[in-house]
Symmetry: C2
Subunit: 152 residues, 2 copies
């Protein structure tokens, strides 16, 4: 398959490698559209209801923040075989709000070659999503499958 | 706020309580639409590319499975103050496929009253998403905030 992006394999990466995404602007309409489809709770759908909730104002669904983070990951993490995750830990220390401009910083924290299959390994990443004030809105720790050069 | 659903508070629930959702049918168009917006990788977008990938056929983004699971959770878990999560563990033991009919079974596995705020507690759930063959496509373990009666 042709690929115009420069991509990397398990042979090309090291613990400590970092990747930074572009910025993504989020508005109230996007927040409400996602919520209507997947998380129709009042604090994600309506400013007035949200102002009376624990969030004290409209907040994006955490799953919306996670989905935007995935988009920014696919654009900024150049693993040749893509991003295939099996399990993750995920937290939202702070809500994502209308008008937020998000970006994602990823760092490789562990690389474990597969014991049974020599053509691949499992790479642990720390994926931090920040708003325009440098405040963290999501912390994601996925383990993803990465192949060696020429495999997969 | 009026609420026609019968809802429950921290005073009404116990470890072992279970909730089962309705069924949700997923087709290839929905899988591709979600992927175009949030996870544009070939194995979520195109049958031919997917057949040559690790997935051996079109597969939904794990974040799409997570978002559908959230929709089914909002409909089937009757906590009066909604579902507000701070952190989760999440895994996808098997891909979600076009034609899958998903449902969600939730069970309360732990209830921890807040030490600092007597009007609330943290409830741990095990949220299992199954396809029409009873095969598990997602395992989610969130900790959510639930208020006592009359609080919040």
């Amino acid at each position: 398959m042709k690929n115009e992006k420069k991509t990397v394999t398990l042979d090309d990466i090291a613990v400590g490698d970092q990747f930074v995404s572009r910025e993504f602007s989020l508005d109230a309409e996007q927040i409400k559209n996602f919520a209507r489809e997947f998380d129709p709770q009042p604090f994600h759908l309506d400013e007035t209801a949200a102002s009376q909730s624990l969030f004290k104002g409209l907040a994006a669904s955490g799953w919306h923040t996670a989905a935007i983070t995935m988009l920014l990951m696919t654009e900024s993490i150049p693993f040749a075989n893509g991003l295939i995750g099996a399990n993750v830990e995920l937290s939202w220390p702070r809500p994502t709000r209308p008008g937020d401009i998000l970006h994602v910083k990823s760092i490789i924290t562990d690389i474990a070659p597969s014991k049974s299959k020599p053509d691949r390994g499992f790479v642990t990443l720390q994926i931090d999503t920040f708003n325009q004030n440098g405040e963290q809105v999501q912390k994601l720790t996925p383990k993803v499958l990465v192949f060696r050069r020429g495999a997969g």
